[in-house]
């Protein structure tokens, strides 16, 4: 089992009147190589879910085992290593660093991994080739369209060849055509063996995944396999 959430709670201002249970006793297992869509309306706790799954945040209660390792026991440094090596993030707002050019953005996780300059460049160019942007690696993010920026972000996420790719509303800021391309690319990644977790509020986007987990008020209300809408 790659991901195991056991009765996980994420509670803000616990014990106060303003207490918010963003995750309210979630239990979820995800196998290696799955393509899972986590669907829910805003406020359903899906972003918190992604933060917990992505080791950006630690659950208040309950256990999260990633590849058999209890995340609670890890130091900040070890969590950084996991984010760097095991997980590739794709965000709604792309989250590229504006002062760096495309190549430098894609190289960034490899720099933190300590990969040497030459190999780093090769790996980054390979990732950019996969998203069809190797020709624009000297451009600044601000000189590119939203779709292109999201493809750069995808290249950055896959440059380290992580086993898990997490996408948080990856099409949220894109038009339907470029959004379509991004989802297609996620399916391609999954076919190639990556575990993909897609977080969205949109059922039609969730339909691109084999498995759909629906969240409401911090609880899983639905978890089923579905016909895949191949793009």
């Amino acid at each position: 089992m790659l991901i195991e959430l056991k009765n996980v709670y994420k509670i803000y201002s616990e014990g106060l009147e303003s207490e918010v249970r963003a995750l309210d006793g979630v239990t979820l297992n995800i196998e290696r190589g799955e393509f899972v869509a986590i669907v829910g309306q805003s406020g359903s706790g899906k972003s918190t879910m992604m933060n917990v799954l992505g080791c950006l945040d630690i659950p208040t209660h309950g256990d999260y085992l990633l590849d058999g390792v209890d995340v609670k026991e890890l130091t900040d440094r070890q969590l950084s290593h996991i984010r760097n090596r095991q997980i590739g993030f794709i965000f709604q707002q792309y989250n590229l660093i504006q002062s760096l050019n495309v190549l430098e953005n894609v190289e960034l996780p490899l720099i933190y991994q300590g990969v040497g300059a030459e190999r780093r460049r090769d790996m980054a160019i390979e990732a950019l080739n996969q998203v069809g942007l190797a020709g624009r690696m000297k451009h600044k993010p601000s000189e590119m369209s939203g779709g292109q920026q999201q493809r750069v972000a995808i290249a950055r996420a896959i440059a380290t060849k992580p086993p898990i790719v997490m996408a948080d509303e990856p099409t949220g800021a894109l038009d339907s055509h470029t959004g379509h391309e991004v989802l297609q690319f996620l399916q391609k990644l999954n076919k190639a063996g990556s575990t993909v977790i897609l977080i969205t509020h949109d059922n039609s986007i969730a339909a691109t995944a084999r498995r759909c987990v629906r969240l409401s008020d911090g609880k899983i209300v639905e978890d089923h396999l579905q016909e895949v809408d191949w793009l």
């Binding site: 933060n51 950006l56 945040d57 900040d76 440094r77 290593h81 989250n95 960034l108 720099i111 991994q113």
Partner: protein
């Protein structure tokens, strides 16, 4: 993340916002420039003072002693000093000034004196005096064969006074370098005969120049055997002496022993005496210089402190502005350590670049201040330059610690949420 990557990133961030970076550096630039200038000028002035003391001779004990009955104390002093032994005293000589008219060819010390008096008296109108006015009349001394050793002179041409000259009332003299050039220009003075108060005196030697810079030069002297005072200044008593001690410690020892000896020899009833060493004035000069450098250095340090706080302030602003960037970096795997290093290096580089500019300005400031205040070329030493650079980088690191720590403590989730 390795250091060269961090340096590249820091450089990008500094050059990305040039105007703000330069304004931020201004405090460090001014601080470093003023520290450099102050330290260089004080070092230069100390060096100059030390050189002057060196030229006058170190470890000198100046003795003034005279008896009301007119009997000379030199022989007694000479014997006493010889009795102290060579591990304390290296030489003893009279050092009495006297006035006389010295003439060689067209050169006349009385005329030089008159010209000087006119110049300083402000009586202008005689245009013929201006050409001669740079010639200062020499100072005349009575000394013994140990005059040169006591006053740190060295013979360059001819020979020095000897004991025989002194014993035989030889009508000879030795010239300082400035006096030699005043009277003889470039000709060799050795063997020439000068008229002193109308009497013939043969030049037997010339001392090497030791104080080329100042106008009232230590080299503008003529030394005669003290025994010829009976011809040149009848009735004068030798009352000024110089005793050369062997070391700084010996100077203190000799000063106190001589004071005791003269108290016994002359006392307060029979005459007057005083003993002091240049080392004492040298020491108080040094103390004064140290105090000056502490005060000025303190002021400069305050300006550096203000500059450092400016750096800290702007780094805090930078951290706030780049919260999202920090969040992104943390999300894709940057450790806290990497974030700390990144911001520390940025602060250190900001200060380092400011330091380099400050050093350049400091070099210029030292030159200008040196010319204006000391009339000499003051150039910061390599040691001062390197320390100034190290200091600026250290300031950057010191004042970068808090902002860098703040940046690294940001929670990834919250940092990513920032606009």
């Amino acid at each position: 993340m390795n250091i060269s990557q961090a340096v590249k990133m820091a450089l990008k961030s500094i050059t990305g916002n040039k105007g703000r970076s330069i304004l931020t550096m201004l405090g460090i630039i001014i601080g470093i420039a003023s520290v450099m200038t102050i330290v260089s000028v004080i070092t230069g002035s100390n060096k100059k003072t030390m050189e002057q003391f060196q030229a006058m001779g170190t470890n000198k004990v100046n003795v003034s002693a005279s008896r009301y009955d007119g009997r000379d104390v030199f022989d007694e002093l000479y014997n006493y000093c010889n009795g102290l032994g060579s591990d304390l005293v290296l030489g003893v000589t009279p050092n009495s000034q006297f006035s006389a008219t010295v003439v060689y060819g067209a050169k006349n010390s009385a005329v030089m004196e008159k010209n000087q008096n006119q110049m300083w008296g402000g009586q202008s109108g005689d245009s013929g005096t201006t050409a001669a006015s740079t010639e200062l009349p020499p100072t005349l001394y009575f000394g013994s064969d140990q005059y040169a050793a006591c006053n740190n002179f060295r013979i360059k041409k001819g020979r020095d006074l000897t004991q025989v000259d002194v014993k035989r009332y030889a009508q000879v003299c030795v010239l300082g370098a400035r006096a030699a050039s005043t009277f003889f220009n470039y000709a060799d003075p050795v063997g020439r005969v000068m008229q002193v108060n109308g009497l013939p005196y043969t030049v037997i030697g010339v001392y090497a120049e030791k104080d080329p810079d100042s106008q009232w030069s230590l080299d503008n002297i003529i030394v005669f055997p003290y025994t010829v005072s009976r011809y040149l200044a009848p009735g004068t008593q030798m009352s000024e002496f110089v005793v050369k001690a062997s070391s700084a410690d010996a100077t203190t020892e000799v000063t106190s022993r001589l004071t005791g000896y003269l108290a016994g020899l002359i006392g307060n009833q029979n005459g007057y005496y005083s003993v002091y060493s240049d080392n004492q004035s040298q020491q108080s000069m040094n103390e004064w210089a140290t105090q000056m450098s502490l005060i000025l250095g303190g002021i400069a340090a305050i300006s550096l402190l203000v500059g450092g706080i400016g750096i800290m302030n702007i780094m805090l602003v930078t951290v706030t502005e780049r919260t999202r960037e920090i969040g992104i970096r943390r999300a894709i795997g940057a450790e806290r350590r990497s974030i700390v290093i990144q911001f520390l290096i940025e602060a250190a580089m900001l200060c380092g670049i400011g330091g380099i500019i400050g050093i350049l300005l400091g070099c210029m400031g030292s030159l200008i201040a040196g010319k204006l205040l000391l009339k000499m070329t003051v150039w910061p030493t390599l040691w001062i330059t390197l320390s100034a650079f190290a200091l600026s980088v250290a300031l950057g690191i010191l004042f970068g610690i808090y902002p860098a720590a703040k940046a690294s403590r940001l929670q990834p989730v919250e940092a990513l949420r920032a606009e």
